[in-house]
Symmetry: C2
Subunit: 785 residues, 2 copies
């Protein structure tokens, strides 16, 4: 946990004053730059010290063994792990005869600032070498949103006093030595030096390296070029070998004289293109970047972000920490997805190797709802990626003796790579989550082409899956037995409410899509009988209810289970999965993360207000929030049932997950879904936005500390803006056609440039529910207004 | 499957005519000799060809990696695998200048006979070498029941015609090269040449080798000595190196002149004793064996077996195949256990490396019921071994946050080594199975010392486990959720009827034992409150019942599940677990092996006759018998409910499991539990013997083909003999006190030497239940009378 005030709360920046080597890995994640295609961890320019060096390209991975103590049918034979590709961030500095290394000499000042508006990471440092020579160093790094293959660094060094000999080495380094992450020697063998050299070349200030992975057959090109500015004479040399390219600049600078280098980087990869094609590709990207120039890249970056923030920004009054956190969150969600372009959005984005770089249901259930209303092109691209993986998902379904498509629980390429099936393959709800995301995107954007080409087939194939996964009991009831819902402290349960309700939406969505596009549906083999079967399954879907307790069991029998002994669970025994066997967790009433409560939010149309209040009150004391996916959902539902202070506490936790390292693993990469969850907590929670059923409704209501909440959503291509104060909400529309909306259940039509304002009705919640002892939500630091 | 008539049906032998190299591995298992301490696979004397060379010592194993694709709390960090120790069976023969190898030259005849009365394996062969020289070879091999550390081989070779140069090499060979069994290079590394040399010595005709395992620290000594008989001159030399000792005998024999060698072997191992102690131990055992001499060992072996058969034999009229099979079964059960002496009885005995040499619940649930009534000292020893492992089981219980002792699902040393917890650790019923075996042993033998020193603590610790594993719901009901019953096609279910009923017996058994031995119970910390809690848990134990269908669900909700699609399951898709995911098997009505039906047998006192008939009829069409543990139990219950032909068909399958290689894996070792099951099917099935509730009852009834069934059981040290014919049953008692018995529910007192005869009442079963298509029970070959 980051226990020092690392990142002061600024509205549009995340900054770090000083350099605490104990949280180096965490800061590398927080300061990671990415455009969804390239990801650079926030490693220091000079490479060392580091928590974990990291340069990632979306979908560049290596296979590794996936061993089983006892093998089973259908277990994935091998795993996939994101790999650290050629590091182009390196700019090493020699001051007189001593390398700049913050661990030696004296670091007189060190500041890093991530600018959320500019999309750059700025660093300044003043350092005195062990022999007493002082230099001022500054660097600015960007990964371009507008040129997908491009990153760039502007680096400057100035002697503080006295003339100094300065040597800069700007490098490309492949197969960096990494800290060990596994004790399996076969995996280590596969992941140590995973890249085989194929080509290297250097001339003038330019070099490139081409490598390929051993097993997965990914060919990777990395190239660099430089412009150098210096009032003094600079000697330049370049050299290159299989795994290293190095430009060396040597000069003598007077006090205050700057040596300034702009390093342009480009990356490309392919599983099909030849060595010449890849090297040409990265050289071309480099040529474009050089032609654009540093200032041009900076300006393009700012324009891209100005456009994004215009539609996406959430503005708060009353909580500077959350204000900063939600902008950081939106920035990172964009970084994870903006240029992913039909590649997955991994759980950690491209900020670290956590979860092997895999994508999960997080994408569709947490990230896409935010992207759909803020950067819909990126949401569409992510679903187009899923669509491209339908052949693998169909094959998996056949392997599982099911119809349709069974999308993987975790993957890079679209093939199932989960090594523990009860909390992997059995979590079939991911298929309904994908369908839900497709339904939402079509509804929010009105994108008919997407609906026809992508959405329809996703819905049809997943509906077919549900049709074969469940069955009608003799009395008609449609049951889905033996699957795992979102809560990973319960597995292989019968008729999980979330799963069944989401499957119901999936089936109905498929029916509607097939009726919208009858010709395309017919091409997919859909006929009237199939549509009727989907309708019947949806209509007769079982939603278990515990009449005695007056609540919905998370799954059949759940509320009959023994309650977890929270009283005798020590605080250092969380997360529970590290201290108790799955066996014990699965069979007791203890909830890792919102599951039934997630259903209350995602399928709010299926519950009455009273049911929501009772269900929420029942599950709060059982939910330990050992997953970063929980707090935001609990925030949403706490707000809906009127526990605004509780909702606010959950919001704080969700928003500050990574900035305060609340899950103790930010060093492995950011929690992109939890970051998206900060947006969900604000917009769906305090904004009360709901989008089920073809329209948008709001039920805004602020917690005490927040005096104003302003957010926008993109709806049918228009910007719909909501300003909430404690007493009222004002809705306005940027242009286009009038929109039918609801405010706390009251329907109204919003017309362009005709804002309307409604008062916010009061709510009387029941007693505030308690949480398991020690698991009350909260931020680390006192809130500052 | 052995599809040639390999083993003609003889009542007291299992013989093989000719040598089919395609079933070599199977015959090595069938002809394995063991006394429970040493196990020698039936490899040819000359070592090659072989299916799998095997020499095992009970509990000599090596650790190996137990890898997990995704790790979890409480997963065993390493596995244990039985290892092939020093091979002392080798006697190689050179005829003129050509090695005797059945793959070359001409094998004019080859016969092997396992004598179930003599306890030896006899082999005769006539072979003509590629250059035309013929020899007659005979060998007799035994593993001594009376001298635990000893095996011996009498080997003789005679030229058929013309004088021949003959060389015999008698060897000890350590670290034999084995066929690969795993693709994990770490496991291969651990198990290739697992024995490190420590000492070797040879003089005269005697040699020994001492080795130790790398990780598990087992020190192993193997020694050999020889006597040589030959009318011609024999030159003798002996040599020895780290992994090999070799006695070489060279002679020239005239036609018909024999060279006869008796090879005495001894083995010893320890995890504590020093090199000198181990070498002395094996030399001493060897000295005793030599002093006893070959004829003496043979005579002792016969006496030991005569004594065993007097109490254990089952005599049949009407089915020669089953007659042979049940004697083979009883012989192998004895071989697996006779001298195990507080070491485990592995699932494969010491006949092969299957299941890594682990012991499972098979021991207590299948093997011990047979041993209790035929060789009670061996049953007691097996339970004493469990008792010795209580510290490990207590530690495991604590790790699982449970009270008492949690015995391992699979193990060699007593520590859990299961790598798949849903079908391993979660199968807690093994604890009740151990308790059940202890209750049965005390009841059958009246062994008070065992009861006090072993049984009590086993019962108390397992009762404590159940007490913490289950809980009383608000209405009092005692529930055991989230555990796995015997059926491995269902896992993590709630209130498995078998588990709950066996736990109930366990709890009540603990109450009674604590009351029998109040002082010892107090020493174990048992007080009145604890006893009362056990009684209450037993009294309020939930036994689910499906009122609508009028049957017991195997576990709660089971009968509500979708039925497996047997109709579209191809015959080559069995066993199902190799062709379908656990996910699908677990959530449907498909049963791998008797589970509820096992409860009907083991806890028959908890069901009415009508319930048994209905339940049996319900589960037959769902049970695919993909486990070798099923047929015998289905036989017992089919007999009880009156489906005698069906019971007879199941008996045939259980009895011929290994002789006909019905499970296609006899080559890895015999199915000791299924072999014991042949006894169970005859004695509990057609003999109708039941032993719940402190007394013994019989309800014999023969199927058409059987005209007489005679068996004995040892009860309170006396031999109780039952002779069943189609019309009547005669009971007689060898001596001792009168015994209270029941015949088809009619109570009577049986006095020594006062046989009584009762008629057998008729039974009218309902319609014969069907099995899943293609899974009807049956033997491979037509039955011969």
């Amino acid at each position: 946990m980051i226990t020092h005030p690392a990142y002061p709360s600024e509205p549009w920046t995340v900054g770090e004053k000083g350099l605490d080597l104990n949280v180096l890995a965490q800061s590398e994640s927080v300061f990671a730059l990415s455009n969804g295609h390239i990801g650079l961890r926030g490693n220091l320019d000079e490479g060392e010290p580091h928590g974990l060096p990291g340069t990632y390209l979306n979908s560049v991975f290596e296979f590794r063994p996936l061993p089983y103590a006892e093998a089973g049918y259908g277990y994935p034979p091998s795993g996939q792990t994101v790999i650290n590709v050629t590091n182009g961030k390196l700019i090493r500095l020699l001051v007189e005869d001593e390398p700049f290394d913050v661990r030696y000499g004296e670091l007189r000042s060190h500041n890093r600032v991530l600018s959320l508006r500019d999309g750059v990471l700025r660093r300044t440092a003043e350092w005195t070498s062990p022999s007493g020579h002082s230099v001022h160093i500054s660097s600015t790094r960007l990964v371009s949103f507008t040129q997908r293959a491009t990153a760039a660094i502007a680096y400057e060094v100035r002697p503080v006093d006295g003339p100094l000999h300065i040597v800069l080495q700007s490098e490309l380094v492949t197969n960096e030595q990494l800290p060990p992450t596994t004790d399996d020697p076969r995996a280590t063998a596969a992941l140590t030096a995973p890249l085989q050299p194929e080509q290297h070349s250097a001339h003038d200030a330019r070099a490139h390296l081409v490598h390929t992975t051993r097993l997965s057959g990914r060919r990777i090109g990395a190239a660099m070029d430089h412009t150098v500015h210096c009032p003094a004479d600079v000697q330049t040399s370049i050299e290159c070998s299989e795994d290293t390219a190095r430009l060396t600049l040597t000069t003598q600078l007077a006090a205050g004289q700057p040596l300034r280098v702009v390093k342009f980087l480009s990356y490309g990869w392919s599983s099909q293109r030849s060595i010449p094609a890849i090297s040409a590709q990265v050289e071309a990207a480099l040529a474009l970047a050089c032609a654009t120039g540093w200032e041009g890249l900076l300006a393009d970056q700012r324009r891209y972000l100005d456009d994004y923030w215009a539609g996406a920004d959430v503005d708060l009054e009353g909580d500077a920490e959350v204000q900063q956190a939600v902008r950081f969150a939106l920035f990172q969600v964009l970084q994870a997805s903006a240029r992913a372009e039909r590649r997955p959005i991994p759980a950690k984005g491209l900020t670290g190797p956590g979860y092997d770089g895999h994508a999960f249901w997080d994408t569709e259930s947490y990230v896409l709802p935010a992207l759909t209303y803020t950067a819909p092109h990126a949401a569409a691209d992510a679903l187009r990626w899923r669509h491209l993986t339908i052949p693998a998902a169909r094959k998996r379904a056949r392997e599982l003796t099911l119809d349709g498509a069974a999308f993987p629980w975790r993957t890079i390429t679209g093939e199932e790579r989960s090594g523990y099936w009860p909390a992997g393959t059995a979590a079939f709800h991911i298929n309904a989550d994908i369908a839900d995301a497709a339904i939402r995107l079509v509804q929010a954007t009105g994108d008919e082409e997407f609906d026809r080409e992508v959405g329809l087939e996703l819905l049809v194939e997943t509906a077919r899956l549900w049709s074969s996964l469940g069955f009608h009991r003799r009395d008609g009831q449609f049951r889905i037995d033996g699957v795992t819902g979102p809560d990973e402290y319960t597995a292989l349960c019968d008729n999980n409410v979330y799963t069944n309700l989401m499957a119901q939406r999936n089936l109905r969505g498929a029916v509607e899509a097939a009726k919208r596009h009858p010709d395309q549906a017919a091409e997919l083999g859909v006929d009237d009988d199939e549509i009727a079967a989907w309708e019947r399954a949806a209509d007769e879907m079982l939603v278990p209810y515990d009449v005695g307790r007056g609540v919905h069991p998370q799954a059949e029998r759940f509320t009959d289970y023994e309650c977890w002994d929270f009283e005798h669970t020590r605080r250092d025994q969380y997360p529970l999965l590290l201290h108790f066997p799955y066996f014990d967790l699965y069979r007791k009433q203890v909830v890792k993360q919102a599951d039934l409560v997630l259903a209350l939010y995602k399928r709010g149309d299926a519950f009455t207000a009273e049911e929501k209040a009772r269900d929420f009150a029942y599950y709060e004391p059982l939910t330990v929030r050992d997953s970063s996916l929980s707090a935001c959902i609990q925030s949403v539902m706490a707000a809906e049932v009127g526990h605004l202070d509780l909702a606010y506490a959950y919001l704080g936790e969700a928003a500050r997950m990574d900035l305060d390292d609340l899950a103790h693993n930010t060093g492995d990469g950011l929690h992109i879904a939890s970051l998206a969850g900060a947006w969900i907590a604000l917009v769906a929670g305090f904004g009360g936005m709901r989008d089920s059923g073809g329209s948008v409704a709001f039920a805004p209501r602020l917690p005490g500390p927040l005096t104003r909440l302003t957010f926008s959503v993109l709806w049918q291509g228009q910007r719909l803006c909501v300003v909430v104060t404690p007493a009222q909400a004002t809705y306005s529309l940027g242009g286009g056609d009038p929109v039918e909306l609801a405010h706390h259940g009251r329907l109204f039509t919003l017309r362009p440039d005709r804002p309307v304002t409604y008062p916010i009705p009061p709510i009387e919640p029941g007693p505030r529910p308690s949480q398991p002892p020690g698991r009350e939500p909260g931020r680390l630091r006192p809130r500052r207004a």
